[in-house]
Structures are given as structure tokens and as C-alpha cells.
Amino acid sequence: MTTGSRGLEAGERSPAKSRAEGPESQAADGTTAPTPAVAVDDLHKRFGTGPDAVTAVDGVSFEVDPGSVVGLLGPNGAGKTTLIKSILGMVVPDRGAVRIKGIDAREAPRAAYAHVDAMLEGARNDYWRLTVRENLRYFATISGVDPASVADRHERLLDRLDIADKADEPVRNLSRGMKSKVSLASVLAGGAEVVFLDEPTLGLDVESARTFQAEIRRLAAETGLTVILSSHDMGVVETVCDRVIVVSAGEIVADDTVDGLLRQGDAHTVELTSPAFDRGLLATLRDRVEVTAVDRLDRGARIQVTTDTEGLYALMATLRDHDVSLSRVRTVERDLSDVLVDLTTAEGA
């Protein structure tokens, strides 16, 4: 029995080769575009019936380009896990379509999932009583690949992840960081071109998490691996992802690059320090802009103000009118967590 046309080069294809050999689709302007690694179209999933029914996924559509790393973010209960499981075929959606490398997952699940593997919910994901190499061979096999045919590539994968010297050690004897690398290696062992990583750095120390992130980036850049990553660790997402999809209440509320999300909206936060900030002046400022924090100092105060561009001009004009001398001005950059909270609470409100 054979199981479809899974790529054999475990995490080792060149992006150029992937694009050159992969199926292409005709764009509206006549140019050809690479077929998306994952395409989700109008996916719906509702659990239960009647008043207790919960809509976990509500009309979600997106495409993921080959070789990109996409973060799937959202608060607990937003529908991320159901969305991932629906894409993986572990949950049957009520409506909508999933295509993996252009193959309809409902019509030809075996061919579609031959390209995919997953590491879900930060689980151990492999057999701790087996050695590293035995895990790779086993998971390559159930992924539809003859392990003997990819033995050399497994060696290179172990080298790449810097665990070659532990290849014959039972996984249970390895450190937490090493185990996470083994999980990643076993996910890539069958030559998956698309991998889903759910909380991949959960429980890792800072150094192991950084190494893991670097490996993900390197694999995507050097081999064209497509990664869809879900994490509550915004540092991981900012470091690793090309693009972020934010899900709230089963819907996509934002889909942009990390930079795009951070620049989203016309809101600026500045921290101003001046000996001239007294009660009267602060009351005047509060009338014009949102003063989010006030720290009283021996002389004057340090305040934090969040406003749009027009508000910033008005603030500066007010300060000039009152002849205020600023001893310090600092721009407070919003991080991804702030953006995520804004996006998801705004939706929930």
C-alpha cells in the first residue's frame, strides 16, 4: 500500500524547488501564483444544539503561502484549537473547505494529510521509551514514508537540530529542551511540508525556547517548510512569525504581519516628565487627552498619555501654551500582547 505523494526530504526541500515543482494557480491578472500550502474557506463549527450551542469557528477563511510561518493567536476559548483540529481533520466542520497543497481534505484526506504533521497543545508528541532515532523511524512510517528511504535525511535532520549525539538515547533520558527538539524532529521525520505547532515552547526554559525558535525560522527559510504556530507567548510569535492571524469568538479579527499589527491604528503612547506638571495642569491635560498614568515626583510628575496624531499635536500645543519645559519624553511602544488584548476585548465588547 502506498499513501500518496508525500515529499521525502524531511525538512530539507529548497524553497525554490518547492515553488518550481509545486502546483500553481492562475491569478486574476494572468500571472501564476504558487498554490497555498493551506487554504481555509468559510469554515464553520458549532458544538451542541439549542440555547447551549457554542459556535467555535464562525466563517473563517485564510490562505497560507508555502514557506511562511503564520501565528494563530487568540485568548483561551477563541476557537484556535477547534480551527486547527478542523484543518487537520480531527474535527469535522459543519461547513466550509480545507485544502492542503491544493488537495481538498474532505475529498482526498489521505493525499491531503500526507503533507501535514502536527505537534498539538505542547504535548510530548513522541514515545519516551523509544530512542530518538526509533521515534523518527516510527513517525516517518505512519506518515506514509518508508523510513529506510529517508534514513540519511533523518541523520541530517538530527545534525541540524544538534541532537545527533543523542540519536540512540531513549527520549525520557533527555532534557526538556532536547525533548522539544525530538518532538520537532519527529514531526518533520516524514517530510511534512506543512506543520502545525500548538504551544511548542510551553515549559521550555528561555535558552531552549530561543534555540527552538531559531530552528523554526531556519527550517522555514532554508527548506520552505510552512509552519502554523499557536502560542500564548507573544515573544515567540514576534520572533518567529511572518504573519499573525488573530481569532476571537471563532472569527478572524486581524490578519497582518507582526509589524502591521503593531502599527495598527492611530494610537500613540508617550511618557512625559516635567517639574511643571501640577494638579491644575494635569486637569487641563485630562480634558484634552487620555492620561493613562501619573507618577508624582518630588518636583512635578511623570505622566503617560495615549492619543491619536491629532491629540498628540493638541497635547504639544497645550504644553507650549503653558510654557511647560519637558525634562524627558519617551515613546512607549505597544507590544503584541497589547494589540491582542485590544483586538480581542474590542470584539468581545
Binding site: K45, L88, Y113, V116, L120, N125, I142, S143, G144
Partner: protein
């Protein structure tokens, strides 16, 4: 002696309290799971029945050998699914391009092979300890016992599917394995229709093979055909139930949630 109390207004519990609490919990578990308790008594009585009515030590040893094989085949799949969930590896089998059901079936067969080896060791020890002699034509024993427990593997596959859907129902599923004692001793009751049940016909043929020395090719064609048909029917039925249950679990979004 008392354990340290955490609050001034709470009296410290002693080992007497502890003993009383654990005994009471045991009592509650016993009465809340009466089927388990009754099942244990029933299986003990069945063993007594086999010992009392079976008469011959040879028959008892063959029956016990087949029972250990059956328990292994039956529990292989549902236990394995539970373990895979615990290890976080179930999802990877679900997304296998081979398909979940075929992978699970083959894993069940692999467990069955392992059970054959361990049961073989147990049989050897029993023969040595009891000083009993059996006819051990390997081909006959493997084929007849293998086909006999294939029907149980089918029942186990169905039970695995039910476990995927309804999760922790191990206590109820485990009760079924006590019924294997009845099925193995069914030939003793000389009821023709029981041959259509899992194990029963295989048990009768295995007794003839291992006790009376009948070789595989010496059985009648009808006997062998019935053995194959019963094995195939239960395995096929179990496979269908498993696929149907996992499909339902996917629709309900409970696959892998334990």
C-alpha cells in the same frame, strides 16, 4: 499521632480518621460501581465452574491459554488509544495518510502477536509446573488460536471506538472480558448456536487440537470455514463500529479529549 493542622479552628486528623476515610471511599467506589464488583465475583465463579466441570487439567490449561490471548486481543486497542492520548501521540495517528482505523487495527494485530509470545511463555510454565502434556503443533495452534482471537480483536476494535466516543468507560469494557470465560467454555454446553459467538468455535477446535492432537488439515472443511467466517465477521463488524464511532467523535469534536 496526628497530621499537622493548617488552621487554628480545625482539629488535626489522626490515622484513625485517615483509615476511616479511605475505607469509606473504598465502600463508596464499591457501591457506585456495582457492575465491577459483581463482575469480579462472576469471573471467579466461572473459573470455579471450569475447574469443577471441565474435569481435565489439559482442558483447563488450553482454556486459560486462550483466555489470556483473548484478554490481550480485546484490551489491546482500547488500552492503546488511552495510552496514545496520554502520550500526546494519538493526533499523529489520526492524521496518518494510512487512515486512523487501519493504523489502529494494525497496532492491535501487533499487540496480539506480542500477546501470543507472552501467553506462549505462560503456557510453557504451566505445562512444566503441572507436569501436563499437550499436543503443540505450532501451525495448528497458531492458526486456530489466531483465528479464534481475531473475533475478539474485532470486539476490542468496537470497544476502542466506543472508548474514543465516550472516554473513560474502561470499567464497563473490562467487564466484557469476563464473558470470555463463558465463551471459551461454551463448547462444554453443547449448544450449536454458540459457535457463532466470538471465541466459542475457536475454543472447541483448539481443545481438539491441543488435547486430542487433531492437526489443522484433519479438521472438517465446515469447521474451518466457520472459524474463518466468524473471525472475519466480528473483525469486519468491529472495524465498521470503530470507523463509525471515530467519525462521530470527529463530528462532536471529542477525538483525543480525555
Amino acid at each position: 499521632m496526628a497530621a499537622g493542622g493548617r488552621r487554628d479552628d480545625a482539629a488535626a486528623a489522626t490515622y484513625v480518621h485517615l483509615a476511616r476515610a479511605v475505607l469509606y471511599r473504598e465502600y463508596l467506589v464499591f457501591v457506585r460501581y456495582p457492575a465491577n464488583a459483581v463482575g469480579g465475583i462472576v469471573v471467579a465463579l466461572f473459573f470455579f465452574g471450569v475447574l469443577f466441570y471441565g474435569g481435565r487439567m489439559e482442558g483447563l490449561l488450553v482454556g486459560y491459554f486462550l483466555w489470556t490471548l483473548s484478554v490481550g486481543a480485546y484490551s489491546a486497542i482500547s488500552n492503546d488509544i488511552g495510552s496514545e492520548v496520554q502520550w500526546g501521540t494519538l493526533e499523529r495517528h489520526v492524521t496518518s495518510p494510512f487512515g486512523f482505523a487501519p493504523v489502529v487495527l494494525l497496532k492491535g494485530v501487533a499487540k496480539l502477536v506480542r500477546t501470543f509470545l507472552t501467553s506462549g511463555v505462560v503456557l510453557a510454565v504451566m505445562l512444566v509446573v503441572s507436569g501436563t502434556t499437550l499436543q503443540l503443533d505450532v501451525l495448528t495452534v497458531v492458526v486456530v488460536a489466531g483465528l479464534g482471537v481475531t473475533s475478539v480483536l474485532g470486539v476490542g476494535l468496537a470497544a476502542g471506538g466506543v472508548a474514543v466516543l465516550y472516554k473513560r468507560i474502561g470499567n464497563w469494557l473490562n467487564l466484557l472480558q469476563f464473558g470470555f470465560v463463558l465463551l471459551i467454555s461454551a463448547p462444554a454446553f453443547d449448544l450449536g448456536w454458540t459457535r457463532l459467538l466470538p471465541l466459542a468455535h475457536g475454543s472447541a477446535l483448539l481443545q481438539r487440537a491441543m488435547v486430542d492432537g487433531v492437526r489443522l488439515w484433519e479438521f472438517g472443511a465446515v469447521d474451518l470455514a466457520l472459524l474463518v467466517v466468524v473471525a472475519g465477521a466480528y473483525l469486519g463488524g468491529g472495524y465498521v463500529v470503530f470507523r463509525s464511532a471515530t467519525r462521530r467523535a470527529r463530528r462532536r469534536g471529542v477525538l483525543g479529549d480525555y
